[in-house]
Symmetry: C2
Subunit: 248 residues, 2 copies
DNA sequence: CGGGTATTTGACGACTGTCAACGCCAGTGG
DNA sequence: CCACTGGCGTTGACAGTCGTCAAATACCCG
């Protein structure tokens, strides 16, 4: 467990969490959840700007994100980062197959976050014995794969403008599908810095800023400090070549 | 089943295949394999330059590649392709989770190929009931994810030269780990066109060619029609920033 | 031998990165 | 209350990697 991570003294159970129905937790067998003796399913809180884990760290734990946004990324030797995924509530993080001893990416809290931790060893044991769980993880992984492949298409072939538009559209639909948008769903929470946006899209912060300005001037969306207003969703989807087929 | 696919009349069993020990097939339960009545596990042959399946096609089947190389890619609206993975013997292709009706990528035979097909419906049923199989698929997926994330890092942050070097190094180790290199393991089979290399690395064929020339002039490797000779493996790894940690 | 495909090379242009500077805002401490 | 500070956003000038267009050459298969 990273030392920056704080285990809640009260060991509050994840079952009380609002995103419970989306989470891995849902299919973890009862005997696991109720194994009070081992305290396996602890709930953690993590303040913004702190790492949950870093590349190369031993893969001891996997997590379900209950609240908050996190940035999963891989570091490049020149100091730059490539964002892999923006984790939203309900996402499953840090799982490594048996035999992999260390993590291949880092996880950074964008906002204050709440997570539920699972020991990798326990997960592996359960995957081997509980088919329903393994099947569920397989489904989760397949969706992440599809999202990862969409990102590859973007990084390899799309223009900066297309990549930004796609990312915004993807976030919009992911939040929409999780009912995390308010009554006016053209306004979405946006705790991401432009630098992180650049991390995700393979662009520098400077160029990211230029593209955002252009999209604002073209009346597509306006990105403010903590929120983003979409003015023209159809054109956003068109520019990003986004189809919501592969968004969970 | 794509019409370009030919089912062998003799229904030769996959069990006779040399890569059997690496394949998904290995963990498919006996009662499935021996279900002669349903002919579920047919072996197929596919000539070079033919598609096994194309983006948007119904996801009826998944496959284990027994022999040959295939290119998995996604098409961009401008006609370009983004390569997702070069499938080598032993790889598992085309799996989609339940609920996904169509495939998100295309699979093109680079060389003549031999595959073993599974019906998605059967796979899903088995995943729900045979924990060992689901666990195995989970492991496979996790490895593909890691590879996909390495590719994202490359596409987003690395130079053209680094990407090409990384891809060659990755192929080298994948072949090496599968014992598919000859006595002189500095020589590897190389049925890939420069255009496909560009597809994988997010570069145009023209620029791909320039980079290959530079790497040849620098004494790193020489790419010929059907084979590639590595002259300086350490520098290849260094240039591509390749560590063989995440190669299956 | 011929036609299609793949490779190779050059000239040119554009998208994106780099460097540098400034402004804005929030939090902090005097 | 205000100055200070650090992080983030914004803008401009310039450079470089890589894409585009075009054409010539080499190679493979029938």
């Amino acid at each position: 467990m990273p030392k920056s991570l704080e285990s809640r003294p009260d060991k509050q159970r994840c079952a009380s969490c609002p995103v419970r129905e989306r989470a891995l937790f849902q299919v973890v067998p009862e005997e696991y959840i109720n194994d009070a003796e081992s305290n396996r399913t602890d709930q953690y809180t993590l303040p913004a700007r702190r790492h949950l884990y870093e590349e190369g760290a031993p893969a001891n734990m996997a997590y379900t994100l209950f609240d908050g946004w996190m940035l999963l990324y891989r570091a490049h030797s020149d100091g730059g980062r490539q964002g892999l995924r923006i984790a939203l509530p309900g996402d499953f993080l840090g799982y490594m197959p048996p035999g992999e001893t260390s993590l291949h990416h880092s996880a950074l809290a964008i906002t204050d976050s709440i997570l539920c931790g699972f020991k990798q060893d326990d997960l592996h044991r359960m995957l081997d014995t509980h088919a329903g769980l393994a099947s569920h993880v397989t489904r989760i992984q397949a969706r992440y794969m599809a999202s990862c492949q969409s990102a590859m298409l973007g990084l390899g072939r799309k223009s900066a403008e297309q990549r930004i538009a796609y990312l915004i559209a993807e976030l919009y639909y992911r939040l929409h599908n999780r009912q995390q948008l308010g009554a006016d769903d053209s306004i979405m929470p946006f705790p991401i810095t432009q630098e992180m946006l650049g991390d995700m899209t393979g662009l520098t912060p400077v160029h990211t800023n230029r593209v955002i300005r252009k999209l604002r001037e073209d009346g597509i969306f306006t990105a403010e400090r903590h929120r983003l207003v979409i003015h023209d969703l159809p054109r956003l989807l068109e520019i990003g070549e986004f189809t919501n087929l592969n968004v969970e």
